[in-house]
């Protein structure tokens, strides 16, 4: 069976005053059905850009999608008309868990208003196509509304919001950060999507709450068989949540492996630096030497070559092809490190 989502050769640039920044340089990514994939890389490597490309909400301009495909269940999302993307894909097939739980609910509407608005348009019981009415005046059939409300209450219970009825009448500022994150997770689950895109969903929360919420999210998506693309700059959180990890460096995916294999046999020089940069038990942190390259005039070939201890002359000329040292483990490197656990 083909994967649920497949991104192939995706090139995305941002037009800036200094010229076009090549933010995604032919990215490939696959997500299987029910699979939770962690997209890991340093800040600025293009995780959010990739997430928004899949959702079709890149700001264009300045963003330009130069080439590539994004297929969801055999539909090429990049050629889908904007209207169809909004009506049938976003909020239905693909939902989103935002990064900033404090700012991601509209401050001047009750939580219930916002969740019921979502259900009005995206309820699994409703039709994907909007009628002739301009959005504001579209009626919300009473019967469906009642059924949707029951679903909403159940979803709030599932994410462990106390007293769901009362919660619907409150405003976002009356909830803590962790509770707000639970609310947006409930919204992402409510419409029964195939794929959830969670863009650094817990970075703003403190560590204990972060762990609780990740465990809850993992349980809920596994129960429902929903796939997740989870972006993070933190390998530790990816480890808690994911089945597989994809590492990206400066807009190029460099290595992808199932979680156990990933931590046991990392092979790409950048992946190994990333693992070494995790805080040690004694609290020390080893920085990756060198700097993240500028993306307007990025290094050619493998973008890691200016910082790579293994680099040879071919590395700066062509991007290395995909190598599969083992089923499920993809690698793009001319001179991988021996596949031993890092120290």
């Amino acid at each position: 069976m083909p994967p649920l989502l497949s991104v192939a050769g995706l090139r995305v640039g941002f037009d800036t005053d200094a010229g076009r920044a090549q933010v995604l340089d032919g990215v490939n990514l696959e997500i299987g059905r029910g699979e939770v994939v962690g997209l890991v890389g340093e800040s600025g490597c293009g995780k959010t850009t990739l997430a928004r490309s899949i959702l079709g909400i890149l700001p264009r301009p300045p963003a330009v999608i130069e080439s590539g495909r994004i297929d969801l269940d055999g539909t090429d999302l990049l050629t889908l008309p904007a209207r169809a993307m909004n009506d049938a894909i976003r909020g239905r097939r693909i939902t989103y868990i935002p990064q900033d739980p404090l700012g991601s609910l509209n401050p001047v509407f009750r939580v219930g208003t916002q969740i019921m608005e979502l259900m009005k348009w995206k309820s699994p019981d409703g039709k994907a196509r909007r009628g002739r009415w301009p959005g504001l005046f579209t009626p919300y059939p009473h019967k469906r509304r009642r059924a949707d409300r029951a679903r909403v209450l159940e979803a709030l219970r599932a994410v462990q919001i106390p007293d769901p009825e009362a919660a619907l009448r409150k405003y976002p500022h009356q909830f803590s950060g962790g509770q707000r994150q639970r609310l947006v997770i409930a919204m992402a689950l409510l419409t029964e999507p195939r794929l959830i895109i969670a863009d650094e969903p817990t970075t703003a929360l403190d560590v204990t709450i972060q762990a609780q919420i990740l465990a809850l999210l993992r349980r809920l998506v596994k129960e429902r068989g929903i796939s997740v693309l989870f972006t993070t700059h933190d390998l530790g959180t990816a480890y808690e949540l994911c089945d597989r990890i994809v590492v990206m460096y400066a807009g190029q995916e460099v290595e992808s492996a199932p979680i156990d294999r990933f931590f046991a046999h990392p092979a790409h020089p950048y992946t190994r630096r990333l693992l070494e940069s995790l805080p040690r038990p004694d609290g020390s942190v080893r920085e990756i030497p060198g700097e993240i390259p500028g993306l307007v005039h990025p290094p050619g070939g493998c973008r890691f070559h200016p910082r790579c201890p293994n680099a040879g002359s071919e590395c700066g000329e062509h991007r290395p092809p995909v190598d599969m040292p083992e089923a499920g483990h993809a690698l793009r490197c001319y001179h991988p490190d021996p596949m031993e656990p890092p120290r």
Binding site: R90, P98, G103, N106, P107, L118, P134, G135, L136
Partner: protein, 335 residues
Amino acid sequence: MYLLTFIVKRLLWLVPSVFGIIVITFVISHVIPADPVRLAAGDTATPEQVAALREELGFDRPLVVQLWYYVQNLVQGDLGESLFTGRPVVEDLLGRLPATIELTLVAMIFSIVVGIPLGVVSALRRNSLLDHVVRIVTVSGLAIASFWLGIMLQLAFAMHFDWLPLGGRFDGFPPPTVTGFLLIDTLIDGDWEGFGNAFSHLLLPALTLAFPALATIVRFTRAGVLDVIQSPYVLHERAMGFPPSVIVWKYVLRNALVATVTQIGLLFGILLAGAVVIEAVFDWPGLGYYAVNSIVMSDYNAVLGFTVWAGVIYMLVNLAVDVVLVLIDPRRSAA
């Protein structure tokens, strides 16, 4: 419940505020080098006659005593008599009130109904032709003096094209007074022709008055929308596939309106001041016109009465604005 205590508190604050306005106006009108009594007595009056009138009006007593009497009367709803019309100032004011309120309200409603959508659309189509045109219009709205604009409109539409009347409020006999608003009274009377008559008189002064208000509302709405569409909650709404029109006209607009509504409160003061000038230009029989005449004639009770009225209205409007702000943005009620 919170709202109710809030309103009551603010209403109580009205009392010291009005008192402050009276004191300031009182002092100013007594230090300006004009002698209202001499003017009121006329050119032919002898010094003795002037002195007698001065005593009769109480102008010979200390300022504090005069103030005391004024406030005492005010509490009983008496603003004194106009030195020139010879009638109670309250009557004069009440008689002219509807004309001014009608003018100001129509200008305000026009600038809100046109300004908010225009601000939203120019924010969404940033740097489009429409946005540039809107920017030119709003900059001129704030830069052009109202009286000049009024005179230009008169020259164009009243003199050159002769489409609209030059000034005044109504030709012929006005309809029976019910509300005092001619647009409404003519309709109540079923007099469509009269409605057109009143409307054609209202059009130019209302547009002149509305222009700077429109400019401000467009500017603040546009800025508010631009600010709000960057926010993480709008990103969330878009990522979840809410229809774009629902996002803009419901979820963005309500947030963006906070800045606009605050401005509308401040604008009302500008509108009241503007009405003074514009009523003079368009011969509009309202309070502004009355105030101008009173100042020119040093008709001191009338000036004071107008000032108190304007102060109270201004404060009431701002109270209303604060209530609306709490209704728009629930976070304010916590503060």
